[in-house]
Each structure stands twice: as structure tokens, then as C-alpha cells.
């Protein structure tokens, strides 16, 4: 540093007021130098407009229309969302395995004398309306399934109501799904039951207590 002090080529330092004054003047410099345009302002102008143009284009192309679900520059929120295909049997199986399985068992064979089987049951694969009513409103009293007698004697159990107003309050969709599942599982192969059919039966019958086998056998 000492060398610099004595060095006459060392530039003179500007004082703070000088610093402001010098630049205050510079700020008023005209960009138009006597009719001849200076090159630098033009270059900067081109640079700035170029960057703005690039930025705008980039935003338009790669901002995913500012949608919260677009995570890929090339994605678009306008793309149609595929409708989720519901596998009715899978939904029914889930319903069955959380609720019905306690009585009718995973094998669909029920328990002798207490819970009737669903496998190879004419009640399951037979009349749609009967089956829907059993699920909607429940079933009590003796019933004969596959030649065996259930629902009478000291071990008698009743089927609870799963429809609206019951303890389970399942939707028509859920009822249709679980019925379709039991009609096609364990070797059963009856046609599926639609939610529309469940709705139809439910509106036709309205609120009702538990059925007896005798009531239902009158139905077609």
C-alpha cells in the first residue's frame, strides 16, 4: 500500500459529495448524441425486448396454464380426466369381506343351523327381487336353503336390514355391488344386479320391517 501512496499514477479518490455530483450529471446524459444514436442504448433495448419476448413465450408454452395439477411443462389442464372404471365385483368383495364375512364366512358356506350358505343357494342365484328385499329390509324366521333348515330352534339368527333406515344404511350402489359379487362367487354364476334395479325395488316397497321366507316366496 505504501507504494501506492507515493505513486503519482494512483487515481484521485472522489469524495462522497463529488461522487453524487458527478453521477447526478451523468444521469442527465442524453442518449441522443447530437442526432447520432449511441449504440449501447439500442443494444440494451434489443436485449431487454428480446428477453421479455423470450420470457413471455416461455411462460405461455411451459407454465402448464398455471394449473395446480400440471407438473410437467408439456402437460395441459384441458386433458380429459379418464373416468374411473369401477370393478363392481371388487367393490362387492370389499363390502363382503368387511361385513358379511362374519356370518356367511369367507367360503360363503355359512354355519350349519345358524347362518345359511350363499354358495349354491337358490335364494342368491334365483329371483333378483327377493334377494334385494332380503338385503334392504332383512329376513327373520325359518328359511330353507339348499335343503337345510335355518332360522329356527335355539340357535336362530336374523338377517339385519342393510338398506336406508337400517343400521348399515348402504347405498343402492353398495347393495348392487355386494349382491353381484355373491351371485358370481363360489361357483355361483347368476347375472349381475344393477343399482337401478335396487333403486326400483326400494322405491316400490318403501319402508318395511324384516321379511319372512313365506312373504318372499310369494314373489316371482
Amino acid at each position: 500500500m505504501s507504494a501506492q501512496h507515493t505513486d503519482p499514477s494512483e487515481p484521485r479518490r472522489l469524495t462522497d459529495p463529488e461522487l453524487i455530483q458527478v453521477h447526478d450529471h451523468a444521469g442527465e446524459e442524453k442518449t441522443d448524441d447530437g442526432g447520432n444514436y449511441q449504440l449501447l442504448p439500442l443494444v440494451l433495448l434489443f436485449l431487454f425486448s428480446g428477453l421479455i419476448f423470450f420470457g413471455g413465450t416461455y411462460l405461455g408454452l411451459f407454465a402448464g396454464h398455471f394449473a395446480p395439477t400440471v407438473h410437467d411443462e408439456r402437460g395441459s389442464p384441458m386433458a380429459a380426466v379418464a373416468e374411473v372404471k369401477i370393478d363392481v365385483v371388487a367393490v362387492g368383495k370389499r363390502q363382503y369381506s368387511t361385513t358379511c364375512v362374519g356370518c356367511h364366512q369367507a367360503t360363503g358356506l355359512g354355519m350349519a343351523g345358524m347362518f345359511p350358505p350363499l354358495a349354491k343357494s337358490e335364494w342368491v342365484t334365483g329371483s333378483e327381487e327377493r334377494l334385494i328385499r332380503v338385503l334392504l329390509h332383512g329376513l327373520s324366521g325359518p328359511v330353507t336353503v339348499d335343503g337345510q333348515q335355518y332360522g329356527s330352534g335355539p340357535t336362530a339368527q336374523a338377517m339385519p336390514a342393510f338398506g336406508p333406515g337400517g343400521a348399515f344404511n348402504w347405498s343402492d350402489d353398495s347393495i348392487a355391488a355386494v349382491l353381484t359379487y355373491i351371485r358370481q362367487e363360489w361357483g355361483n354364476s347368476a347375472p349381475p344386479i344393477t343399482a337401478a334395479k335396487v333403486t326400483e325395488v326400494r322405491t316400490k316397497v318403501g319402508a318395511h320391517g324384516a321379511w319372512t321366507a313365506a312373504d318372499l316366496e310369494k314373489l316371482p
Binding site: S2, L14, H71, D72
Partner: protein, 467 residues
């Protein structure tokens, strides 16, 4: 410059001496601590078992402590000191309320100390640049508001109507910081937003903390020192205004730059990429304005600090743009390369421009020249070498790590082995940086001690003759 006796030392410099010296000494103290922590963290990257049995020094906490000590300890204190001093010197008005300023500084440092201790004890928030726990943040906010107020008053109460670029940058920094800081505290800690929104807000905060607080102070220093030390006005000064507004307006939108390919909606990183490109305009204007600083390697040591800082600053701007392109981002995202970028910007650009300002302001606030020109040169040499070695080491480690990561068959042991040479180089660099920080701290303390024993008024030369 014996031709200018008493030259630039004005009353406004010496009245605020106490609080400014307090800010500077604490800043350099924090710099030493953060460099030690950074060194520990880098060693742990290639030797994971280093200090691992101690919960307070587990790698995650070391990084959080290092970041807090660097940002709020070193950068915060130094940015306050430099911006306040510049505003007071250029505005020709002494800083008001030096007592309040000193008290607020003490509380700021108390807060940062408590925050770092809390992180060691396991209270880190895990939010980048906002690691200190929520119960300490209000104290920091009040202290920051009290520290920045005299600066804003020095601007509004300036003696001349005309203003200079350094003043814009400095006043923007200290005026915007409390707003930014409080908004982040509310949205991230007091009543935090959830999910990815939180990540976006955290990105907005951390980028703006750099772009609207730290970098403006560094640029204020560059715009002040270059014409002053070179004796020539800023080239094409009429564009400085555009450069300033380009930084303030576009820099504020870079918050999503680390979310490229990440789980945020794609418009967030896209906006950040556009903002990074638009910032090129700012960098071009800085380069056009300050060639005397950029190429000032052969003049005084102070100007050499400026040259290093400005070069790092422009390189970083270019690096940001390049790293945001998908081809490079795919390779270098999630590697040490981003750590290297951070070191280049904060340890290179910001710190060197601040060192330069400190070497200018030291004699002006104390009234005596720096005790040793040799120590300034040594500081420059060691710090420059340390920064270059650390940044290149980490960049090399990141490059190797990225290539190793890209091969699916590589396990993490192989990836770590690939990155190890670069990390070892970076460790050597960190040792140099620690040496540099200690040199600067000792020199600053010597200056303060000697100024207490001497009442002589000298010129504003950066160092006294023939030490």
C-alpha cells in the same frame, strides 16, 4: 493521498463509530463460527462418522447452524453495517440514535446466538434460511427493524436532493428486509401454510433474502467503491437505474428455481426460470457500469476484492441460467453443485464486496488507517484462494456425484466414492477460508483497539505506510 488531508472523513463517519464497530466485529466473529461449522459439515460429507455420536453435531444440525450463523450472523450484521454506513456517508447525515442502534445490534446478536444454540439442542425448523425456531424470530424482527430505521432516516434526511446508485441499493435492502422477514415468519412459522405451498413460500423467502437484501448491499458497496477508488465515474451511469429495478422486480420472482421437476405446479419453476433469464439484463448492466471494478485486479487491494466479488457475481448469474436448463438440471439437481453455487454467490460475490466495503469504512469510522497492509493482502490472497478451491471442489464433487447418480446400478457407496475427491478439495478450501476469516477478525480487532489508543486524524488511505 497526502494531497487530501482529512479528506473524506466526515463527522457522519465518526459519530456512528460505536454501533458500526459492534456490527462489524460481531459479523466477523460469526464468520469464523460459520466457517468452522461449514468445515465440520464438509468433513462429515466424506467421513460420515465425524462427530456423529454427538446429537448436537449431527450433520443436519451442523448445516442448519452453519447456515444461520452465516446468513444472520455474518451476512446480516455485515449487511446492516455496510448499508447504514453508506447511507449515512452518502446522505451526509449522521446516523440517528446510535444508542438504540447499539442496543438493537446487541439484541440481534443475542437472538442469533440463542437461535444457533436452539438448533444444536434440536429446535431447527428445517426451513431453508429460516432454521431458527419460531420463538426467537420476533426478537430478530424487532431488532432488525430497530437497526434499519436509522438507515432509512439517513436516506430521507439526506442533505442533497440528488441520490446515487449505492443509496438505492442500500435503502432498498434495509427497507425491504423487515417486510420480507415478517411475511415469512407469519406464513412459515406463526401460522404456517401446509404442503407444497409452504415449500413455495420458503423458496420465495430464501431467494428474496438473497436477491433483495444481501445482494443489493453488496452492489451498493461495488457502486460506491469502483468510482471512488478508480477516480472515474461509473460508465454509462444512466443505465444503473434500469439495472437496479431489474434486480428488484425480476429477482423477487426466482423463488421456484429449486423446484424444477419437483412436486410443485409447473408454473412455479417456470416463472423462476423466466425470472432468471430476465435477470441477465441486470447482470449486463452491472458489467457495463462497472468494468473498472471487474478489471481492477492491478490496483489497490480493496479494488481487487471488488473485482473478485463482481466476477463471482456475474459468473453466478450466468451459472444460474445455465443450471436452470433441463439438460443440466437433470444431471446436477440434488447434487453438491447447488452447494457450490451458494458458496460462489454468498462466500464469493457477497462476502468479497462486503470485505471491500469494510476495508474502506474501517479507517473512516475509526479515524486511523488499517494497522497492516500486509494483513489485508494476506486476507485477500487466502480468502480468494479458499473460495476458488472450495467452489471448484464442490462443483467437481457435484459433477461427479451427478454422473454417478445417473447410473442406476450405482449404490450410494459408489456415488459417495465418486464425490469424495471433490469434497476433499473443498475441505482444504474450507481450511483456507477459516484462516482468512481469522486474519480478517484479528485485523479488525487490532484496528478497533489501536483506534482507542490514538486520536490522530488521518487521510482515508486504506492502510498506513510502511508497516
Amino acid at each position: 493521498m497526502s494531497s487530501q488531508p482529512k479528506a473524506i472523513i466526515s463527522e457522519s463517519d465518526t459519530t456512528s463509530r460505536g454501533p458500526l464497530a459492534l456490527l462489524l466485529v460481531s459479523a466477523f466473529g460469526w464468520l469464523i463460527l460459520s466457517t468452522v461449522l461449514s468445515l465440520i459439515g464438509t468433513i462429515q460429507l466424506h467421513t460420515p462418522s465425524f462427530l456423529a455420536s454427538c446429537a448436537a453435531f449431527t450433520h443436519g444440525r451442523v448445516e442448519a447452524m452453519q447456515e444461520s450463523a452465516f446468513i444472520y450472523g455474518w451476512a446480516g450484521n455485515a449487511a446492516f453495517a455496510v448499508s447504514l454506513w453508506l447511507l449515512s456517508a452518502l446522505g451526509g447525515s449522521p446516523l440517528r440514535g446510535p444508542g438504540l442502534l447499539a442496543t438493537a445490534t446487541a439484541f440481534w446478536n443475542l437472538g442469533v446466538t440463542a437461535g444457533v444454540v436452539a438448533i444444536a439442542a434440536g429446535e431447527a425448523t428445517s426451513i431453508p434460511f429460516l432454521q431458527m425456531p419460531g420463538y426467537i424470530q420476533p426478537l430478530l424482527f424487532v431488532a432488525a427493524a430497530a437497526i434499519t430505521t436509522p438507515g432509512v432516516l439517513a436516506w430521507t434526511g439526506r442533505s442533497t436532493d440528488s441520490t446515487y446508485a449505492s443509496q438505492w441499493y442500500a435503502v432498498a435492502a434495509i427497507f425491504l428486509f423487515p417486510w420480507l422477514f415478517s411475511a415469512a415468519q407469519v406464513m412459515l412459522l406463526a401460522d404456517p401454510v401446509h404442503g407444497i405451498t409452504q415449500t413455495i413460500v420458503a423458496g420465495w423467502f430464501s431467494q428474496n433474502l438473497i436477491a433483495l437484501w444481501l445482494l443489493p448491499v453488496a452492489l451498493a458497496s461495488a457502486y460506491y467503491l469502483v468510482p471512488k477508488l478508480s477516480g472515474r465515474p461509473v460508465a454509462h451511469y444512466q443505465f444503473a437505474k434500469l439495472g437496479f429495478w431489474a434486480l428488484v422486480v425480476f429477482g423477487a420472482w426466482t423463488g421456484g428455481r429449486h423446484l424444477i421437476g419437483g412436486p410443485a405446479p409447473v408454473w412455479v419453476p417456470t416463472v423462476a426460470v423466466v425470472a432468471l433469464y430476465l435477470l441477465l439484463f441486470h447482470y449486463v448492466i452491472v458489467a457495463v457500469n462497472l468494468p473498472a471494478g471487474l478489471f481492477g485486479w492491478n490496483s489497490s487491494t480493496t479494488l481487487r476484492f471488488v473485482a473478485f466479488g463482481l466476477t463471482a457475481y456475474l459468473l453466478n448469474g450466468l451459472g444460474d441460467v445455465l443450471a436452470s436448463s433441463h439438460a443440466i438440471n437433470e444431471l446436477l439437481d440434488f447434487t453438491y453443485f447447488s452447494v457450490a453455487q451458494g458458496k460462489l454467490l454468498l462466500g464469493g460475490a457477497f462476502s468479497f464486496l462486503i470485505y471491500a466495503a469494510v476495508y474502506e469504512m474501517g479507517p473512516r469510522i475509526t479515524g486511523i488507517p488499517w494497522p497492516s497492509a500486509g494483513l489485508i493482502r494476506a486476507h485477500f490472497g487466502v480468502a480468494a484462494l479458499g473460495t476458488v478451491v472450495t467452489v471448484l471442489g464442490l462443483a467437481f464433487a457435484g459433477w461427479s456425484q451427478g454422473h454417478a447418480l445417473a447410473v442406476t446400478a450405482n449404490g450410494f457407496a459408489a456415488i459417495a466414492a465418486a464425490a469424495k475427491p471433490g469434497l476433499l478439495i473443498a475441505t482444504a478450501g474450507e481450511f483456507l477460508l477459516l484462516g482468512a476469516a481469522i486474519i480478517a477478525f484479528i485485523h479488525l480487532v487490532r484496528l478497533q483497539v489501536e483506534s482507542c489508543c490514538s486520536e490522530s486524524v488521518v487521510s482515508d488511505s486504506p492502510a498506513k505506510s510502511a508497516t
